[in-house]
């Protein structure tokens, strides 16, 4: 279903193409709580931009964090780099449980050591 098509065509002429599928954003919004009943057409569009900003910020912080902490230069961003950025940033507090309660990865907050099971 190409529901995003109409909006993409309009906005791409002026503000750039949509990078995230609006229908999927809407599904995630609806699932977030039972209280969410009706969503205006513009809400997923605002979120598509907000998610871009969010991904950019978290990715940037993860990269800077990683390059600051490692003496040897790495060129690959890993899961624990994202987790470290979450822990280090107040506004991302709502994500702390998500990035630390994981079967595959343990992150020690005090020492910046990461133990990963492959």
């Amino acid at each position: 279903m190409r529901q995003a098509g109409a909006y993409s065509r309009i906005l791409s002429r002026k503000t750039g193409p949509h990078s995230l599928p609006l229908a999927r954003i809407k599904k995630i919004m609806k699932k977030s709580s039972d209280d969410v009943k009706m969503i205006s057409g513009e809400a997923p569009i605002v979120f598509s931009k907000a998610c871009e900003l969010f991904i950019e910020e978290l990715t940037k912080r993860a990269w800077i964090n990683m390059t600051n902490m490692h003496e040897k230069r790495r060129s690959t961003l890993h899961k624990e780099d994202v987790a470290s950025a979450v822990i280090a940033t107040d506004v991302f507090d709502f994500l702390v449980n998500l990035v630390t309660h994981d079967n595959n990865c343990e992150l020690k907050e005090d020492s910046h050591q990461v133990i990963m099971e492959t």
């Binding site: 995230l20 999927r24 709580s33 569009i45 506004v91």
Partner: protein, 146 residues
């Protein structure tokens, strides 16, 4: 609100969610990965798990902000969550830097929607005129120009 978050975390940690498919609760990894790449240096790579973690974080972000916006609507006895509610929730939850660019984006979108609606009205008006002229012609048996 914390109950909501625990419910969301619970559903994220389980593989299945009673009818809701795994892929429906996350944004596509290709799109997420592309956005991550765009902000990083050209030589940078991102591990698959790194992208997956970002997918989870974005979905959580959407839920978190939606919950806050939805609470506001509920308190104000409104049924429909709109773009302004989302912008307000961002500010309320500490994402102050996002508010101005989002409001600008929303304003632009509303302008474009307004233009589109006007274009449709004009087009519809033209169609009605043509139809009336044609009907008139059929009755009269001669052609009256517009």
């Amino acid at each position: 609100m914390f109950d909501n978050i625990n419910n969301i975390l619970g559903s994220i940690n389980s593989d299945e969610e009673g009818g809701i498919k795994e892929q429906d609760r996350l944004l596509p990894i290709a799109n997420v990965g592309r956005l991550m790449k765009q902000i990083l240096p050209q030589n940078a790579k991102i591990s698959k798990e790194g992208k997956e973690t970002m997918q989870e974080c974005v979905s959580e972000f959407i839920s978190f902000v939606t919950g806050e916006a939805s609470d506001k609507c509920h308190k104000e006895k409104r049924k429909t969550l709109n773009g302004d509610d989302i912008c307000w929730a961002m500010g309320s939850l500490g994402f102050d830097d996002y508010v101005v660019p989002l409001k600008r984006y929303l304003h632009r979108y509303r302008e474009l929607e307004g233009e589109k609606a006007n274009q449709n009205k004009v087009a519809a008006g033209n169609n009605i005129e043509e139809r009336q002229n044609n009907e008139h012609c059929n009755l009269q048996g001669s052609f009256y120009g517009p």
